[in-house]
Amino acid sequence: MSLSELIWGGVGFLLTVMVLSYLIGDNFFFRLAAHLFIGLTAGYLVVLIVHHILYPYLITPLATHSWMEALWLGIPLLLILLLVLSQIPKLAGLGSIPLAFLVGLTAAVAIGGAVFGTLIPQVRSLIDAFDPAFWYQAAERPWLRIVDSALMLVGAVTTLSFFHFGRKWRVDKKEQVVERPRILEILSKVGQIFIGITLGAVFAGVFSSALLALIDRIAFIVDFIAGLVGGGG
């Protein structure tokens, strides 16, 4: 084991043991490791933002482009200045302009992605599943594909009905009524089952990922100790 492997391995070993000590309960070593991680990551994030965002998107164009072209950068510079000044309590209102820009940009990207990236393709997929050409694509058991398509449709519709998107106003009594039509309530109950099935699969996946991380940490500890012992011996 080389010196750098020993040092970095030792650092990793110590941090792993300190964090895993949380199994016994919250303790000084766990908190020390967590705070060390937070500080280091925050420092790295600043370095990353400066090197990967400020430098290529602001500083380099200002330095390399002509002043006419660099004028375009006046707008983001102004927005950044307003955002920084808005941290002063008296000037908090100045942050509204850069926030308005970010909110408009994010809202549009979200709408476009939701509509063109999810809603339309997924609904089309639901409809295409009932294409007879798709059913008879395989030689055997088209009935299984029909059952599969029906299950997909029922699952999607009942899952959607579980979500409550609005409330109904009862005009005569001038009050908000949370009740929904009975058919929606029945569909919602079925939707709960499909949601439970999906979340169960997600739970299994989350455990698999976490299990793999634990296996990796155990293997790392074993390898490090073996390397120490083997290297010392």
Partner: protein, 204 residues
Amino acid sequence: MKKIVWIVIAVVTGLIVLAGYFFQAQLGPVLSMILDWGILLAGAAGLIGVAYLFRMHLLKIIQNKKGAFYSGVVLAAFLFALIAGFILTPQNSFYRHLILNVQIPVEASLLAILAVMLLYAGLRLIQTRGWTPMSGAFLVSAILSLIIDLGFVQTRSGTLGAELIALLDRLPIAGARGILLGMALGGMVVGLRVLLTVDRPYGE
């Protein structure tokens, strides 16, 4: 007057970006510029957030509040990573080792603890949630997914058994699709409310 300026900025920006989905070639440069500005602003917001974190921990040390020692650790690690990063740059091998050999063990160990927590949560699932259609379906689906992942269930391709197992394996897609549609509808509604100025999260 001020409100109108904010609203105009938000709506015009949003409409240009939305138009980019239809007129990609014609609006390409403008979209690129707008996105560059957005990335710059997001980066500046990230720096402001880190500065706030720094200030909070510094105040804790100055006022000698509870947890001041840990705040000192945070600040020390922060300054070390910051100075080393500016001097060595992120491309430096030592700096990369430093960051990764702290982040990977800590994050992976936290995930490892999550595995134990999930095990404990699985033990108490029915005790806390009771026997409901959702909890029952959750339990059965989790067990089936795990059994399929084990690789113990092996069937010949093309047989009824294989197709039934494939059908069972695909059942989560139905619920997932419904969840994705619901999320997309919700995101679309929120975005439309912002662009139609019904909601104004940027201030009144």
